[in-house]
Symmetry: D2
Subunit: 330 residues, 4 copies
């Protein structure tokens, strides 16, 4: 059974990744590390019930695993990934460090990169869109939560050349803002509230633009995230100006074809709610034509901590290790 | 001191209107009516502390007040308004019955109208935009909550001829769905959830289009409301394709000019949160140019029960009765 | 593989039971019934993903399964249970109908009983306390959610003869109030609120008293439930006047002995939170001596829909069918 | 018009106090200070709309006001209060520093005291119980939020000699934990959760015991606070073992007599919810006899930031300054 480690297991996504791997039927979680946390992971997160001691990162030892999920912040990740890769570990990286193809774009949004030589090796791990590439990869850049929902929602339109312009209004639960305490994530601030943030320039937009172009829609997206008073869950509402007239039948066909046989994508008639995907690796999607304006409205709902991060990382790891894609996440 | 009644005081907006009038320094609330509720209003809504007995509507008696706020559902309102008007009462109507100028549009979204002859007399009561007309009116159609936030957010752009196209992504707390119990408003359904509804055709869009055109922007808006897990509060995120290039300075100037001296409109640099307008008659607005796409992003935050309904009704009533515009709502 | 049905699958607990059985590795869920609902269960509860058509109850056919979980309301259940039992099905009944040993007590709190002859056959299914009896039973009365948490929290003290008196202050999420829409469970009523209900006589107290007496504590408990603004989760805070002086060491020992090897009971030093048991069959318990008053304070946290209802039902069914106790619920 | 300052205006209670005084018809708020915050108070708390610049404390200048509300943490407050008193300002202190009569008790729970000579001058500001003393005081120790609700709920029983023993199970919204960010108040920690804290020794119990004894009930209370997923609101559920038999009629009479004419105390038949007192200075109370056990159950609901802190401070300040008791808080 392949061995695995979670590097940076005390944040929300790293801890969930550890929980999923701990219960994984075909992967042996042998280590969880933390830069600051000490003690057992199940003291920090009782509900994840992972009875492992948090370790300091030891590249020699931890790089000797078959595979690692790295859950470090942007910028801090690339150096660690390089070191672990040098020891031979396959990596799924949850940070943004290997998502952007263009070094200038990376520099613009995130600053210096510590392992630019690895960027070309990295595969963008939106599993449903790049399954074969992920299976052959040694390094996977796990997509951001917003790009995951947005790209799954828009891929069929992008591939069909239907996107002339798009506005993405995204809504996320508070866990998306991370575990570090701050006024923003204080219960009294977030409760009974909703507001946009990162306006007008949230860095996830670079990732969305890059991937939409690769899918066939070379647009500059308008992207605005909002913080909502819920813990897990993310909804993107995409407003597409179509490149040509279409209709509900064509739309339904496009999506059905695109996602036939995909167990982690669900197509619905009614706009999906995030509650229906909570604690799952599933993205629920509905597509609608507005008969008044001709605009196409597409909704994508995911759990930001699962499909938006940890469970998609495991999904990718499964493919990289030749395991069943859904093992440990269904 | 002028006398007033609230006709239909057991819904959320009617009850709040009664609460505001009960404490109003210059209006004497003499009656609250209900079609189904019985007993005292403060038994039904302890927190509003209005110690009046709910009465059955008696058009003769209740029409003899100086002014009435009618909080009946769409369709049910117009007949009652006509009867009360016939007795001489000035009316602020919270329903949609007198908002749409075009009878065909009304019929399309709401069905038959019981008092079409009064439609032309009605003034659209978005106070900041139609203050003088409201002051002279005997019948005011109080705007819907979504149109209130949307039109205040977009009016400066519409008047400047800047709106070529607009997408409005609206988010509302559950009180906007009304007091009638249903699966949709069950705590377990709405909690930890977010989803769009009324897709692709929510009837508030007719009101938005009509008013945007009157302001100078004859567009067909794309409008999508979402239900959020909070009780009171509404945010509209408006994505405008500008008719010509503009910049942040021009935008700031337009909004400052439009709302100078308006005590119930607050302009902010950062995207506003609904928590900052909870239990107030205030609309907070921020406007941003997206430097990547050129789109204009405008946020408007209100309390759907207050500025979106009851407190704007009182604001209008104040003007109609020659009182200070902010009396009883500050 | 034994076959099973869920009788009454459209309420919260029945639907969850169906979801658990649908994924159960050693039980074959063959039918879900409903008195009022139609269509597929996954239309009603997308998140449970049970693609079965809701059926009308057919006692002949549905009684032919090996086992059934009955999730009917109190009073409506006993007749159905009798009919299914007559056809040979083993039953776990989620209602209160077979919990109370004393027919007079049942009548006092619930009214007439349609199958009094079966009461003596029924085993009280608090699994950790009555494991052997459950394994031999054909009819199990699944405990109420409040009694489950309370009895697990108090059993070690009751057996040690330590309970002279007890006050149980219970707090439950809104799902405990059921799926039927009402003003009480309206989001706007429950949100930002907390209040006691069923004061001073909630009927779960009869069940608590009966079972405490059987465990060795013949007391009359003071029991007060409160409704909290969360969906799933239940905490009981038990204040015990000890029958004799004790200390923290003795208490720790009592609990450790009582629950050694119990995978679904977790003992903690700090007061447990319901978030730590969400979506699990686990009860987390902490016990404290108040050095100022000598009172013993015991907290028990469960998920009211899981250990308080559906997953405990599956736990019992596993034992009745000779399966692993934790199958399908871990 | 008397002048006032709020010393420590950036915490939740200090900011609310500033907001109340800013709108007070008969008090002139001239300064708000902060130890760490800078800028304008309405930047920090837009919703309070207090357009004052935060100042560093200057004892000479700020002590020259007629009255000050001090909202410093326990321990940090006494020295500042002494300095401001020396300059002549009347003080309402929101900390615990002047609440405990017994210096040993203070030292046990809070450590050293910087102004022990002022303790005897301080009046315990539970307004409804000590109105006359407050009116004559120059220094008022504003009660803790839990003691406020508990003592108002229990005072009629204590005075009647009816309390032989009492358990207080208290539930508070997250604002009660203060504004400092931490894991405890992170939205993701508090949401969908409930747990006790400060077990078994929360320091508010010393204040409760002291005051119950003064009212006629020399008991050692069992007191356990719980954190709930709501922002403002506090409910205490008090379980009293009566010193002698009583009945519902006597209880109703005791409470009616105790609170006749009290505008900020509401007696209800049904258990009160905190939503009914949100943003008010009101305590809602219900009292019940449990016919099975003879225990008396009393509920008290307040808004922890209002009656539990800031609005009661203003209520006291009004009395100290000879103003109407309800000015600025109704």
């Amino acid at each position: 059974m392949p061995s695995a480690a979670v590097i940076g297991a005390t944040g929300y996504t790293g801890a969930l990744a550890a929980s999923l791997l701990w219960r994984h039927p075909s992967i042996d979680l042998v280590a969880v590390t933390s830069r600051s946390g000490k003690g057992r992971l199940d003291d920090l997160y009782p509900r994840h019930r992972v009875p492992l001691e948090l370790e300091e990162l030891d590249v020699q030892r931890h790089g000797a695993v078959d595979a690692a999920i790295v859950a470090y912040p942007h910028g801090a990740s690339s150096g660690v990934v390089a070191a672990l890769r040098a020891r031979g570990a396959r990596i799924v990286d949850l940070s943004a460090d290997f998502r952007l193809r263009d070094p200038d774009e990376y520099a613009r949004w995130y600053g210096d990169h510590e392992a630019p030589e690895l960027v070309d090796d990295a595969v963008y791990g939106l599993t449903e869109l790049y399954r074969d590439e992920v299976a052959d990869a040694d390094l996977v850049a796990n997509p951001g939560c917003y790009p995951t929902a947005t790209l799954l929602a828009l891929a069929p339109l992008a591939r069909a050349g239907l996107i002339a312009d798009v506005v993405v209004d995204a809504k996320s639960g508070v866990s998306g803002a991370g575990r570090a305490p701050s006024d923003k994530v204080h219960f009294v601030t977030a409760d009974e509230n909703v507001n946009a943030y990162g306006v007008p320039l949230h860095r996830h937009v670079a990732e969305i633009d890059q991937e939409l172009a690769l899918l066939g829609a070379p647009v500059t997206a308008t992207f605005t995230p909002h913080l909502l008073p819920l813990d897990q869950g993310e909804l993107v509402s995409c407003y597409v100006t179509p490149a040509r007239p279409t209709d509900q039948d064509e739309l339904a066909g496009l999506y059905a074809d695109a996602y036939v046989g995909e167990r982690f994508v669900e197509l619905t008639d009614r706009p999906p709610g995030v509650r229906d995907v909570r604690d799952t690796n599933i993205c629920r999607i509905s597509v609608h034509e507005d008969p008044r304006t001709g605009k196409l409205i597409v909704f994508g709902a995911i759990d930001n901590l699962w499909k938006g991060a940890a469970s998609q990382a495991v999904q990718n790891l499964n493919l990289m290790l030749g395991l069943g894609e859904g093992e440990g996440i269904t």
